[in-house]
């Protein structure tokens, strides 16, 4: 690391540093890394197998032996990354006089970082302040502890002056966590009635050279396994995960962690199962979905499922896309020589993660949130909370919740977050938790504030609390419908003329609430997506023509925010399906360092994305909200993959690797008998 007065000078200095490298063999492929005679990523280690997980539920082999149909697929997923518009950034300022550190960071978890900086830099927790203002995109990339950020804080401590680092795009591509490198072989057993009876999944995950701190790189593989077949009603499963060390960038949690792998694998098998049974895959899904009235239900992976709406989402999707018309259109286009396909993918996305996994793993990240509301002398609700704003709009969602809970106009609610100097401890932004967890806590805090205001007003007005309510900042008498007193007047009285209030009233104009998922693990959500694609016969390029999403995130707080979260997620999913890939050359040199090499989905290439919702409120909370931020990304790759394979079916070929390259499409169409790339 070079610290200089400007980035330009630092880069000049960097060029003066000569490194003598002893070149070691590059271990890149996951499968090769696990071969017994493979060179080792870490000298002295006996293996590149970083982690292995096995889980068997029920007599899986017997189910496969008894199966009327067995289908097997092997899918390969390549690395990608999140590419937030704003790169990772930090300005750290250590004050030698007070021994305190202030770090402004582009990060999703201010409180996690406060704890870690305190521990690793040996500064008392109270002397570390982390400020994460409006963050320009996170996608999970900014959940982790990166060496650069620690080094900047250490440099500031050593130098006794502020030090800044803003990753440029090349540095971001080289150092942000990657995700999604898997090769999965999976099978599904189906009985004579067309019911799924069992699944077998063997997943090898490319982990990179180190496991990411503090949340671990294996989370992605575990998350993929957990979501395998999760929409379907079967009881037997056998899964295996092997996380392989490689000379690559560490893998970390990235939007919809692992789920897109599970959904692509499951929905590919579902399509194949329906095909071998010579039936519509929609009928196959209808028969095998876990019914809403069969929940709560525990999946064979041991995950509690509740409040899901698979059948309703499917039927809504068929309405939404005018399914009969789509089928007719596809047939007409094919008649005219166009290569088009339609694909569907159901999904379960686990959101609002509870304390179980990290807690038992000894990882100090909070799944709890805190909300503190103060009514100021003007009657505004000044709120501090432990959520984080990374562009998902949770600030607005929480303001709506608090306004409704207290009975204030939304303009009178101010929600602040991201500064550990003022915000109470809590989780930040991860696992689509804002509405479900922070939202519920904010609702409870708001209700406390309402009841306190009503109690004070009742005492003052010689009324009864149950007689009064608050509407748009005005306390009114329920039966008379008359304005009794404005919240702002009440607040002024409490602060400035308390002698006008009855003795001993002791009004609390600051209230707080802390809460989380209790013992709950994951909050499941569900939905379904469909994709209509056309293949350019000349080039093999896939052009998405239209995309549909029906999604159930429970109670929707702000429809506009939810819809655009879904759309953004779908675009990232289409990027995963068609464009984005972190590439390495044979020597292990990273080959996707710029946005000319790493292809992001661009607006001009994106289809219209039609979004609709089923609302099944979460039964375990008052608000009923669930996570929505990752649902778009969850199933878009699978929907596109199924659409492409639908288009290719008449050519006898198929795609089994993401992203889908034009060359692979042409090969699946029967071009290039021999692979000229070999």
């Amino acid at each position: 690391m070079v610290v200089a007065r400007s980035r330009a000078i630092a880069e000049d200095a960097l060029e003066l540093i000569e490194v003598e490298w002893s070149e070691l063999p590059a271990i890149l492929s996951m499968e090769a890394a696990l071969a017994p005679d493979a060179a080792k990523v870490h000298s002295g280690a006996s293996t590149n197998l970083c982690y292995e997980f096995n889980h068997v539920q029920g007599l899986v082999n017997r189910a496969f032996e008894a199966a009327a149909f067995k289908v097997t697929k092997r899918l390969r997923f390549n690395r990608k990354t999140g590419v937030p518009l704003e790169p990772r950034s930090i300005l750290a300022s250590f004050e030698p006089g007070s021994g305190s550190l202030v770090a402004y960071m582009s990060h999703q978890m201010p409180h996690q970082m406060q704890l870690i900086l305190s521990d690793l830099l040996d500064i008392p927790l109270g002397d570390v302040r982390v400020v994460c203002p409006d963050v320009g995109g996170g996608f999970g990339i900014k959940m982790h502890v990166y060496p650069e950020e620690m080094a900047v804080c250490a440099a500031s401590k050593i130098l006794g002056r502020p030090v800044k680092y803003i990753a440029d795009r090349v540095e971001s591509m080289l150092s942000d966590v990657h995700a999604r490198e898997h090769v999965v072989e999976a099978s599904m057993a189906i009985d004579a009635d067309g019911l799924i009876t069992a699944m077998k999944v063997d997943d090898i995950q490319g982990l990179g050279a180190f496991s990411i701190y503090p949340r671990s790189s294996t989370a992605e593989g575990m998350s993929a396994l957990r979501a395998m077949g999760a929409a379907y009603n079967f009881e037997k499963i056998e899964v295996r995960l092997r996380s392989a060390l490689q000379n690559k960038v560490p893998v970390g949690q990235y939007r919809s962690v692992g789920h897109p792998i599970a959904v692509a694998v499951t929905e590919d098998l579902v399509e194949e199962a329906a095909f071998v049974r010579n039936e519509s895959s929609l009928d196959f899904r209808r028969r095998n979905f876990v019914r809403s009235d069969a929940m709560p239900w525990t999946s064979p992976m041991g995950v509690p499922m509740m409040d899901l709406s698979h059948h309703a989402c499917l039927e809504r999707l068929l309405d939404l896309c005018d399914y009969k018309n789509v089928v007719a259109q596809v047939a007409a286009w094919r008649e005219a020589g166009r290569v088009v396909g339609f694909g569907v993918a159901s999904f379960v996305e686990f959101t609002a993660t509870g304390p179980e996994g990290y807690g038992r793993g000894g990882v100090a990240v909070s799944s709890i949130d805190s909300v503190v509301i103060t009514i100021d002398p003007k009657g505004n609700a000044d709120t501090q909370c432990s959520a984080a704003e990374i562009g998902q709009g949770i600030q607005q969602g929480l303001a709506q919740i608090i306004a409704d809970a207290i009975g204030l106009p939304i303009a009178d609610v101010r929600v602040s977050m991201g500064d550990t100097g003022s915000a109470p401890h809590g989780g930040g932004a991860w696992s689509s938790r804002g509405a479900a967890i922070t939202g519920e806590v904010a609702w409870q805090a708001g209700l406390k504030m309402r009841s306190e205001l009503v109690r004070a007003a009742a005492a003052m007005l010689q009324s009864q609390p149950e007689q009064l309510t608050i509407v748009e900042g005005v306390i009114i008498d329920r039966s008379l419908g008359q304005t009794q007193i404005r919240v702002s007047d009440l607040a002024r009285m409490v602060y400035f003329t308390p002698y006008d209030l009855p003795d001993g009233l002791d009004v609390q104009l600051t209230v707080s609430h802390v809460g989380g998922r209790g013992g709950g693990t994951f909050l499941p959500t569900n939905g379904i997506q469909a994709s209509l694609v056309e293949i350019d016969v000349a080039s093999g390029q896939v052009h998405p023509l239209k995309h549909w999403v029906v999604e159930d995130c429970g109670r929707i707080i702000n429809p506009l925010l939810v819809d655009e979260q879904i759309r953004g997620g779908v675009v990232q999913g289409i990027g995963e399906a068609l464009y984005e890939q972190c590439k390495y050359n044979e020597d292990g040199q990273f080959a996707s360092g710029t946005l000319a090499d790493y292809l992001l989905p661009m607006a001009a290439n994106m289809p219209d994305i039609i979004v609709s919702h089923i609302e099944t409120p979460f039964s375990g909370s008052t608000l009923g909200a669930k996570g929505a931020g990752e649902a778009g990304t969850c199933a878009a790759p699978a929907a596109v993959l199924n659409a492409v394979n639908d288009a290719l079916r008449s050519f006898g070929g198929r795609i089994d690797e993401l992203p889908i390259t034009p060359f692979a499409v042409l090969r699946a169409m029967g071009e290039f008998d021999e692979d000229p790339s070999e």
């Binding site: 795009r169 350019d536 034009p662 290039f672």
Partner: protein
């Protein structure tokens, strides 16, 4: 991504610019629109000692009809060329091709001369210049010279330019008006460098091809006319797909496609065939309408 220290000069006259190039030779880099040079500086893959910014030199961005045809100044922005009525009249091929060049913001800054001088094998404009049989007017302190586009491009990022020389303008013969033109390409995303692109001009008589100019972008090291293929197409009637396909079959023997890229040679050869087949069809349809 910050450039190494570099001197910067912004001469107001051509003479002053040429003097700087004479003085600094290969250590100087000419700054036009900067759409390739600035990223190369920032990534430190280019490290000139001086930038000679030619944007303040009057007249270098003009698009006018001259005696020998259409003249386009080297500093003409892509979007000015794209939207020029003179270009639409005399060299619509350029306007067709420029729609594929990058994105609006880049086209607002990027210059014709810059694209030609860089000579990226995947770039559209070099291929168009060869197809249009343009003359590249080059100037240095030693005087002016004219190089035919077909002689100008010599390799990957290699041109006939000497270190002290500057592209002044291109001259596109008026005779191009008599040709029908077509440009198309396939890129991973709109605006990306082409996996394969085709500049095609044809003359038709009685439904038969009587003149043909074929130049690909993104396949070979530098753009050139495929004379064998052009000759083989002469006399073939539009709609005679069998004979057209037979000629297209010969593309493999005529093209020397760069190896080692992301897209295998065989894939890009197939693209080349499709582009030509579609191009001939598109020109044919333009006759009927």
């Amino acid at each position: 991504m910050k450039p190494a220290r570099v001197d910067y000069m912004r001469p107001r006259s051509l003479e002053a610019a040429l003097q700087l190039l004479t003085t600094h030779g290969p250590d100087a880099a000419i700054l036009g629109g900067g759409q390739s040079l600035i990223p190369m500086l920032n990534l430190r893959v280019a490290a000139p000692s001086i930038l000679v910014d030619i944007n303040a030199i009057a007249g270098m961005n003009e698009i006018v009809n001259g005696v020998s045809g259409l003249q386009i100044g080297a500093v003409a922005r892509h979007n000015d060329v794209l939207r020029s009525p003179l270009v639409a009249d005399c060299a619509p091929l350029l306007a067709q091709a420029l729609k594929h060049v990058a994105h609006e913001a880049i086209r607002n800054r990027g210059t014709l001369g810059g694209s030609l001088a860089l000579a990226d094998p995947a770039a559209e404009l070099p291929a168009c210049m060869v197809c249009l049989e343009a003359n590249i007017v080059i100037v240095s302190s030693r005087g002016e010279r004219v190089v035919e586009a077909s002689d100008f491009f010599q390799g990957i990022y290699e041109t006939a330019l000497e270190p002290d020389e500057l592209i002044l303008r291109v001259e596109i013969p008026a005779s191009n008006r008599e040709w029908r033109c077509h440009f198309d390409e396939r890129a991973r995303r709109h605006g990306d460098f082409a996996m394969a692109g085709l500049a095609l001009m044809m003359k038709l008589e009685g439904g038969a091809i009587v003149g043909c100019k074929i130049v690909y972008a993104g396949l070979e090291a530098f753009p050139r006319r495929l004379v064998n293929i052009e000759d083989a197409l002469l006399g073939i009637k539009l709609g005679d797909d069998e004979r057209i396909d037979a000629v297209i079959e010969c593309l493999g023997a005529s093209l020397d496609i760069l190896d080692g890229g992301e897209y295998p040679v065989q894939y890009r050869l197939r693209l080349a065939g499709h582009l030509l087949r579609n191009g001939i069809g598109a020109v044919g349809r333009s006759v009927m309408t």
